[in-house]
């Protein structure tokens, strides 16, 4: 019974942070800030769901651990790839106070 309550709290945590991530995705002004919202907050929400499920289904803990490890490794790489491709394809930043990469970007690989 206590485990059930703790698991439900974790699931509520996960749903709440998923909702906050999606809210940030809708409200933020440009691609880079939207990536900040969805890449970090949604991952935290998924982790809440994973922990809650691992408490309620104990035999699935190993699979859920593997899934969490994969998400933890792959989400930053995917977010970085999206941000790099957005910057390289020239999408401007809204309300940026400074741009450290301006004029310093290495020459992109030429198309054959």
């Amino acid at each position: 019974m206590l485990g059930e309550i703790i698991a439900l709290l974790f699931i509520a945590f996960g749903v709440f942070f998923s909702a906050v991530g999606v809210l940030g995705m809708m409200r933020m002004p440009d691609v880079y800030t939207r990536l900040h919202a969805s890449g970090k907050v949604t991952t935290l929400g998924i982790f809440g769901l994973l922990v809650g499920t691992a408490i309620l289904i104990p035999e699935a803990t190993l699979k859920l651990f593997g899934l969490g490890l994969f998400i933890l490794l792959s989400t930053p790489v995917a977010s970085h790839a999206i941000a790099a491709s957005a910057y390289r394809s020239g999408i401007p930043m809204k309300r940026a106070s400074r741009d450290d990469l301006a004029g310093r970007l290495p020459v992109p690989i030429p198309e054959e």
């Binding site: 439900l8 989400t75 790839a81 394809s89």
Partner: protein, 91 residues
């Protein structure tokens, strides 16, 4: 699992499914291609959460394999499309 817990988890699934709608809005409306790609990435994360909750409702651990496969393919697809958007080719 008690009936109350089952009901609460079903409500959580419904909320997660409703959260897909803003992501779909961003996919359709998003002003730049990077916006759409990022929205699809977030949508896949939500789908993984929904699949995990479905495994919880059914009480089996087999459904989690689906979530693993979805995470792997989503990662590869995101990298490929991001590379295509910035350089005009995938490989």
């Amino acid at each position: 699992m008690s009936v109350l817990a089952q009901t609460l988890i079903q409500i959580a699934v419904v909320i997660m499914i409703l959260l897909i709608l803003p992501c779909a809005y961003r996919v359709f409306v998003g002003p730049t291609p990077a916006d759409r790609l990022q929205a699809i990435d977030a949508l896949t994360a939500l789908l993984i959460g929904i699949i995990v909750l479905l495994a919880l409702i059914q009480g089996t651990s087999f459904v989690i394999d689906v979530a693993l496969a979805l995470a792997a393919f989503s990662f590869v697809g995101t990298l490929a499309i991001a590379r295509y958007l910035s350089e005009g080719r995938v490989f």
